[in-house]
């Protein structure tokens, strides 16, 4: 087959590819990072590149104007190479808004009464072996087994081949004294022998340090906690965008991308890179001598939605997306770091907490575990709004759950000037009811660059309350303010003028943004309605609302009720829990009983498939208004707007 030379202006070397190669594939091979938020479906237009010379064939030109085409623009995901070409990569708003840490990271310390010897599955033992001589030629491994039996009461042990390969060296290096690190019990190996996960030369004085990591793989953000298993404290918390974002911003786009040739492996590599970098970062944050390295980490517990977990493990997620929405596995057998590709101790146990269904993953199991919902007497609603919105309703007696495809609007995605809750984001806003001039608060106290989820909720509520938009989200265009104007995407509200903005452009909130937010909040509220109806209770029987996820941490309950995102309950019933997802693996790391509880929770939850529920569509349509078609459901809002 003919080969062609492809030269990208931003890459060093030209590359050679066969005729018919997708431009996106060539970019990938050349190491040119291009954004494919729609997963390479040709829908979003974000992967447009400029072909400055040479022949290509465009399969689709959607979102490209005639002028664009004249200038050589082509969608990388829809264009094949048919000759030697040169390509220019236009500057674009790259998704590299890396977080070095979450906005406010609280210190997390071990639960009261934590005892590593009783609660931990990871144990270390110091052993003194008998030295071999001509009268005792016992092999090294038997010698170690004897010491484990006699000195630690451990009868049988499993060992990996790589550890066996270094055994002879380690024993002699330590002059027949060694410290063995064992995983005494994986969740799915009850009654089976412990597993030797590491062996250090020399006995240790007292308990040697033992490190582990709790990981939450969000569709948008990956969070890693580094845990000292001896004290039980979290010693470093780091977070970063999931690198997979470049291949699709929501799970559906990722699943589609995974279905392409090599797509699954690419996504797997991207999330592994993200995690491995975070682990390195976390290790660097801990002061210790000698410095902590990733190979000191002997266990990882991971959560994420079902798609994220499938992608991490290289399991094709395709059936998650298509009816009847089936995961390959919810209760993942325990694995090792080497199996998974995590760059920590190769024999470290890697435990993925169990999910419930295609769209209610381990992150929700973890949320229920860390919120304690499954042990409460009160009827409680738990919600975790990330890129999707998952809801659990229940108590000690029963648990029902569902997933609402809310989309990433509340994470700032799909909104023109949306951004994550990081430095430069408007996090709260007030609009003057007469002048329509806004006052806002920016994270970090700097000039605003955009607006995050809590800011969007506040803005929507304020515009509604002041009458700048009506209950359907339409702008009142007759108001005497320059802030409501016709923009590129229709009517819009100017939040900040270019001169006040950190990026020297007007920060606006468009009609399209409003529609995205309305759909997102309607999906979530409809989820509440269907769950409550499924167990035959009215929504206001809910005695407590627990809000997990980084989304929930800073929203204003009053304003969230005003727009109809949260049910109209007394404010004191709401409680914010922060990142409940990563707290689940953290608790599971510390306490084997917590881990058992996670399995129990996942199997106890009854999953309601909204797309199969014939009341969901009506509930969703009714909730597309501010706050809702049926105002009687929102008595406090009715009172506020009638003032």
């Amino acid at each position: 087959m003919a080969e062609h030379t492809v030269k990208f202006d931003v890459a060093g070397e030209a590359i050679r590819v066969p005729t018919g190669t997708l431009l996106a594939e060539a970019a990938y091979q050349a190491g040119v990072e291009i954004s494919q938020p729609c997963g390479g479906q040709g829908r979003c237009g974000r992967c447009a590149l400029q072909v400055t010379s040479g022949p290509v064939r465009r399969r689709s030109t959607i979102r490209l104007s005639d002028e664009d085409l004249a200038q050589g623009f082509a969608l990388a995901c829809q264009t094949v190479i048919e000759g030697d070409i040169t390509v220019s990569v236009p500057p674009q708003a790259k998704i590299e808004r890396l977080l070095t840490s979450d906005r406010t990271v609280g210190e997390v310390t071990a639960p009261a009464g934590y005892d590593p010897l009783l609660d931990q599955t990871i144990q270390s033992v110091s052993l003194t072996l008998t030295r071999p001589d001509m009268s005792d030629q016992t092999d090294d491994w038997s010698r170690l087994l004897t010491a484990l039996r006699q000195q630690a009461g451990i009868d049988q042990v499993q060992i990996s081949l790589p550890l066996m390969q270094t055994l002879g060296y380690t024993l002699r290096q330590g002059e027949w004294e060694v410290t063995a690190i064992l995983d005494m019990q994986a969740w799915d190996r009850l009654g089976q022998p412990p597993r030797l996960i590491d062996l250090h030369p020399g006995a240790s004085l007292g308990m040697p340090p033992l490190w582990a990591t709790a990981i939450d793989i969000g569709t948008t953000t990956v969070t890693v906690w580094l845990v000292d298993l001896i004290t039980g404290d979290v010693r470093a918390q780091v977070a970063q965008y999931n690198r997979q974002i470049a291949r699709g911003e929501d799970v559906v786009s990722r699943i589609i991308f995974a279905g392409k040739d090599g797509g699954g492996e690419q996504l797997r590599g991207m999330v592994l890179d993200t995690i491995n970098e975070l682990v390195d970062q976390a290790c660097k944050r801990v002061k210790s001598d000698p410095p902590l390295t990733n190979h000191d980490i002997v266990k990882a517990v991971i959560v994420g939605n079902s798609t994220m977990i499938h992608l991490l493990l290289g399991i094709p997620p395709e059936n998650i997306r298509t009816m009847p929405f089936i995961t390959t596995v919810n209760q993942i057998p325990s694995l090792t770091a080497k199996d998974v590709g995590l760059n920590i101790l190769p024999d470290a146990t890697v435990d993925c907490l169990p999910g419930v269904a295609s769209y209610v993953g381990a992150d929700i199991t973890a949320g229920v575990l860390s919120s304690g919902l499954d042990d409460l007497d009160k009827i409680t609603l738990f919600m975790d709004v990330g890129t999707n919105g998952e809801i659990v309703l229940g108590s000690r007696e029963w648990l029902v759950t569902c997933a609402c495809s809310a989309g990433p609007a509340f994470e700032g995605a799909g909104v023109v000037h949306g951004m994550r809750a990081t430095k430069g984001a408007i996090e709260d806003i007030w609009v003057n009811s007469e002048t329509f001039e806004p006052t806002y608060r920016v994270i970090g106290g700097v000039k605003p660059q955009g607006i995050c989820g809590s800011g969007l909720i506040a803005l929507l509520a304020e515009l509604f309350l002041t009458g700048a938009i009506d209950k359907a989200g339409n702008f009142k265009t007759s108001l005497n303010t320059p802030r409501i104007r016709q923009g590129e995407h229709g009517w819009e509200f100017v939040i900040a003028w270019a001169k006040e903005a950190g990026n020297n452009q007007d920060i606006v909130f468009t009609r399209v943004d409003i529609d995205n937010l309305l759909r997102a909040k309607a999906a979530i509220y409809a989820g509440f309605t269907v769950l409550a109806a499924s167990v035959g209770i009215p929504l206001d029987w809910v005695e407590q609302v627990l809000i997990g996820g980084s989304f929930g941490k800073y929203i204003n309950v009053e304003k969230a009720i005003l727009i109809g995102l949260l049910p109209d309950l007394p404010w004191e019933r709401f409680q914010f829990l922060g990142n409940t997802a990563v707290r689940g693996p953290y608790l599971s790391l510390l306490d084997r009983q917590a881990r058992e509880k996670a399995t129990e929770i996942a199997s106890r939850m009854t999953y309601i498939e909204l797309s199969a529920d014939n009341t969901f569509y009506d509930a969703f349509m009714s909730a597309l208004f501010l706050p809702h078609t049926d105002l009687s459901r929102f008595p406090t809002v009715e009172a506020a707007i009638s003032n």
Copy 2:
């Protein structure tokens, strides 16, 4: 560091190496196969290459004459590169005497009463899963577990991540009917859940074929049997030289080579290549439609001496060689093909039978198992003479064992015209007591190329009987025959003249050869003596002698007694068992009880370390004569020579 270009006349591309690189290493990198029988110690001189231009530094020039040096010859293992060089690889007797099969391969069929359903650990089950729909969104893995529980009574199952990765595809491909292959019980996982090793789409009609392999890794020869687990029959038997021979002919040379940088990995790769090629060959021999492939093989059981097993598994064997001679592991945990690097089904169980000590390996455990020695009432001597000689003495009541470093003389190595028992080898010989003219029998009925072990024993016996050599092995130089002459290596006997030989050169038997054979037979006989003494019985209480190993198959007992290799017992007490080593894994493959017995045998055997036994040296020295210093131990020989 400076780099130099190295060009070998036999290799395509020149390579670049840093200054100071060993010539042997450069050859390896360039893909030039050179022989290093001594393991790269600079002792044998077999790796000499001719440096035709450029600077090198010779660390040692042992075995090179001044003339050699003048012509540029250098030992590859002792010479470092100091500039751009060109190298000529002289033609040499390459070790590529590949066997396509053993000389006489008997058909091996299953033991009477073999029942795969009862005796096998490998089982296959056909399952019909419920189809998912919107009212049953159970994940694929739970669905499979339910089917296993309800349709096969299997409660819990272990699965590897790669198999989980293809699970969703396989279930849908088979339209929710699948055939699961399970290993119900590894020897070291009693009471633990079965392991899923493969999953095929579609139910199978009746029992699907199941294939396994029994492997014996000899220092010299690797033997592979391909076994049909349903019938229990051996369907192909193949054997080939162990490729590691190029890096040392005995275990000590291999251990030394393994200690060099990257040496262990090189040896590991070589034996894996050997095995993987043999498995491919074996698959091709079986007629089946569709053709059998290596991925159809679901289990392997392996034996070999302890060094061979350590090298196979990448475990450094260095402590086997140095006092106090310690292996890293004798009872190898069960592994998978992927762990080991065997190119069969990746999740196939790989079970290495247990060894006893550094020089009594799993091949001897296998020999005892397949000979049934451990269950006999009679006092029995079992011997397996390969590159080393291992001996077991015992009965149902007790078992003692030792290893004699006999060297590879009886395999034809270390003997000028020695060769393996393959086509062209003289396998038996008679010498006329007056003319000293020999008559011989050649394997394959062709012209002779050399002489194999059984031929060497016969020749030594004949020369001794006819008085051509004395009891110390010295030639009687006064005889009237041109066949006893001064050769390159001292006195020698011409077995065949160049004109009768297949390779157009005189085939000779030298004084040095005789010394090698005397040392080998003395080591073995001294082993008998020490073992018998260790349990306090005279050697002639031995009621039965079982001879295993391919060596034993064709030797003439009378002549072996004549030279003092075997004890002077009535001939009917001797029995040849053929390759008992490979039969051990074969039996273990077929019957889980046989596998348990192997573990029991290994732990029952009492190992006598000859080098720590102060009677061994005396016994060895006394046995260096023909047949022995103490003629009263060999009454039949005494009678024969006094005639």
